[in-house]
Symmetry: C2
Subunit: 414 residues, 2 copies
């Protein structure tokens, strides 16, 4: 049998789980205080839903669950069995698709606008490499049934508050709108049918620079005049909301201004919020506002999201507006641990040692200490001194020996 976990999955040690639980609870409480409600959905989803979900690249990363019994036998008859015929369900790759299904399934029992929290595991068959997990946590809030820009403001303020509470200090929100991106593409002379491919290449701007983007666009045979006009817009210095307002849909620009002004006014300068015309975000289901959070000391985004007004409609006969913001929990957890994160005001943990004939009494003694401490009752080991070193290394804060009168002794940790 194999003792190591599968590639891309992780065992978490007790000290790590303490921190993970604390961070998740802090995020959850922040979200609940802001009036959001938590739901849970199954990790298993119907393959039909997963495959039709416009998840972009993620659709190639779905773990599929094998059919069973007669269904499997039938799928294996003759030739031509493949991934899709052998499987009718899979592990979810994000929490947005299950949420959309959930809303369609339960809408009669939900208050609209539905302000919802999800904190749970998702799965992607990423190529195993350092830092790439195949099983990981996402922490999402979404507002369903509100088309107005106030939903975006609410999400931005609530997500940034959670990030602050878990210890992120210096960060900024980057914001764009898919329709502005499309407006710029059209202004440069590209056709609508080229937008998706353009977006994928333009999304690499941070990695390959504006010259790299230009080279790749020309290589991909986009029309040279349009490429030059497009690149020119970004070469001359950063585009501002004012400078794009002649190019794009005016209402869209006003909407972004409102979001930035309102979030800025309420946050009192606690974080920067800036227009980022080169922000793309990968998922195909985004239809309007898109945003990301960048933090000092973290490469790439620590949170991201956007508006997806068409996804829920796929489950219903009507369009339902929706917008969501997701915290990249694993990346934040990883960096906080590297920095030696310590949980504030953690209840202290001690051991109570007993001799073989005094277990019942030691248990009662320990029970009396449990209002103040987490207490583990342990047989007194032969070499107590050596064992105390192990206790301290394991995160215990002190110990007592039942029957000795000097009570609880704390380790002299700084």
């Amino acid at each position: 049998m194999k003792a190591t976990p599968l590639k891309g999955t992780r065992d978490y040690l007790p000290g790590e789980v303490l921190v993970r639980d604390f961070l998740q609870n802090t995020i959850l409480e922040t979200y609940k205080d802001a009036g959001f409600s938590r739901i849970t959905t199954p990790i298993l989803e119907d393959a039909v839903n997963l495959d039709k979900s416009e998840g972009g690249e993620n659709l190639n990363l779905i773990f599929r669950v094998l059919k069973r019994g007669q269904k499997l036998e039938k799928a294996l008859e003759g030739n031509g069995a493949d991934e899709k015929s052998l499987s009718d369900m899979g592990l979810r790759y994000d929490l947005t698709l299950p949420l959309s299904r959930y809303f369609a399934n339960n809408r009669n029992e939900l208050l609209t606008p539905f302000k919802v929290i999800q904190m749970d595991r998702v799965y992607r068959a990423e190529r195993p490499q350092k830092g790439r997990l195949r099983e990981f946590m996402q922490c999402d809030i979404d507002i369903i049934g509100e088309a107005g820009a106030d939903a975006e403001v609410d999400l931005i303020l609530t997500t940034t508050k959670a990030l602050k509470r878990i210890g992120l200090e210096s960060f900024k929100v980057k914001i764009n709108d898919r329709r502005i991106l499309k407006g710029i593409f059209s202004y440069a002379g590209f056709g609508e049918e080229e937008h998706e491919k353009l977006a994928i290449i333009f999304d690499k701007l941070d990695k390959i620079g504006i010259e790299g983007v230009k080279a790749e666009l020309l290589e991909e045979k986009f029309e040279e005049n349009s490429v030059n006009k497009f690149i020119g817009l970004f070469e001359e210095g950063s585009l501002t909301l004012d400078s794009v307002s002649g190019i794009c849909d005016e209402e869209c620009v006003e909407r972004l201004k409102y979001i930035m002004d309102t979030a800025g006014a309420v946050s009192d300068g606690g974080f920067g919020i800036e227009f980022a015309p080169s922000l793309v975000r990968g998922q195909g289901y985004y239809t309007g506002t898109i945003f990301e959070v960048e933090a000092e000391g973290y490469s790439g985004a620590v949170a991201g999201g956007g508006r997806y007004d068409h996804l829920i409609g796929k489950f219903l006969n009507e369009e339902i507006p929706a917008v969501g913001f997701s915290i990249g929990f694993e990346r934040i957890f990883g960096i906080l641990m590297e920095k030696g994160y310590r949980i504030p005001d953690q209840k202290q943990k001690i051991a109570v040692f007993y001799d073989a004939d005094a277990f019942a009494e030691a248990l009662k003694y320990a029970e009396g200490l449990r209002d103040s401490y987490m207490v583990s009752v342990l047989k007194r080991p032969k070499k107590l001194g050596k064992f105390l070193n192990k206790l301290e290394a394991d995160g215990f804060d002190g110990f007592a020996v039942y029957g000795e009168e000097d009570g609880v002794k704390m380790f002299g940790r700084q």
Copy 2:
């Protein structure tokens, strides 16, 4: 696309998740106060580990994950592809196998005895029917590396304390030892090789009665004299620890007495603990003590567990003693909800309504209320009265209208 969740899986509504989180946190805090540490393991496990795990009937209920890419192509070449060749990992069916693997993988970083908490989802491809879930929560504590009976006492006291804290009132612990069961089988004259099949039939005692067991044993062609001797033991009235002490291994009987006496002394009569010679428990990996908790108003067990001294050894070159106790969370949750469970001392939730031009100010006003309430900021709907009814039905406790001077008004709920 399909709005309903897959058969045997569930969407949980906000009010349900509030209760689930509260119950889980209560159990978790009880376990932490008793000195146990939480870990997490992946939901995906290597197929080799799952298949060799002696999980009894559960091994037929494993959800297997399809191989991908070239591995899948290779598995499909020629004929003879089957469940096992098409898959090299699966979803765990319990938390004990992953824990055993975890201990083997991480033992150098763990304090022994390792007192460990797991609260997480497991998967079984049960035939869909009312109340049978294919995805469900288990709440386990285990003690690894302690062969002595004090480990059993610790688990019994800690598990029953958690059950009390989440609202179970009248319950009892039933306890047995696999070796006593085997001793009785041998005493009746059955051979060692018959024990497993005997145990499976005897496990049905609660459902089919002693006469049903007898009939089935005879039907299965067990030797008539032995069947009569065996059934006779149980017909004469319940077997006591004293009455089996001549039949079974004496040390084993003394050990059970110690566990019952010590747990009884510390719990101060908070629950009954009784010897149950007909208790079997399904898993093949149990080697010694086995136990269950029965509660008034709950059919079947609400918690169960036992000692599995050989399972971890399968991952290592040495035997490691281990014992665990698992709370049947879903069954308890289901019955508490039917009884109209209410969370004690829950922070109250209110809505703050605003008019279109006052969002930023309303957000600041709401922020000032968040020390006392969970506050959701909502656009004032056209028909406020009607919407307030919906709010109340959704579990809100009150509301305020920003800009009106009468502040927070609570709904007059009993």
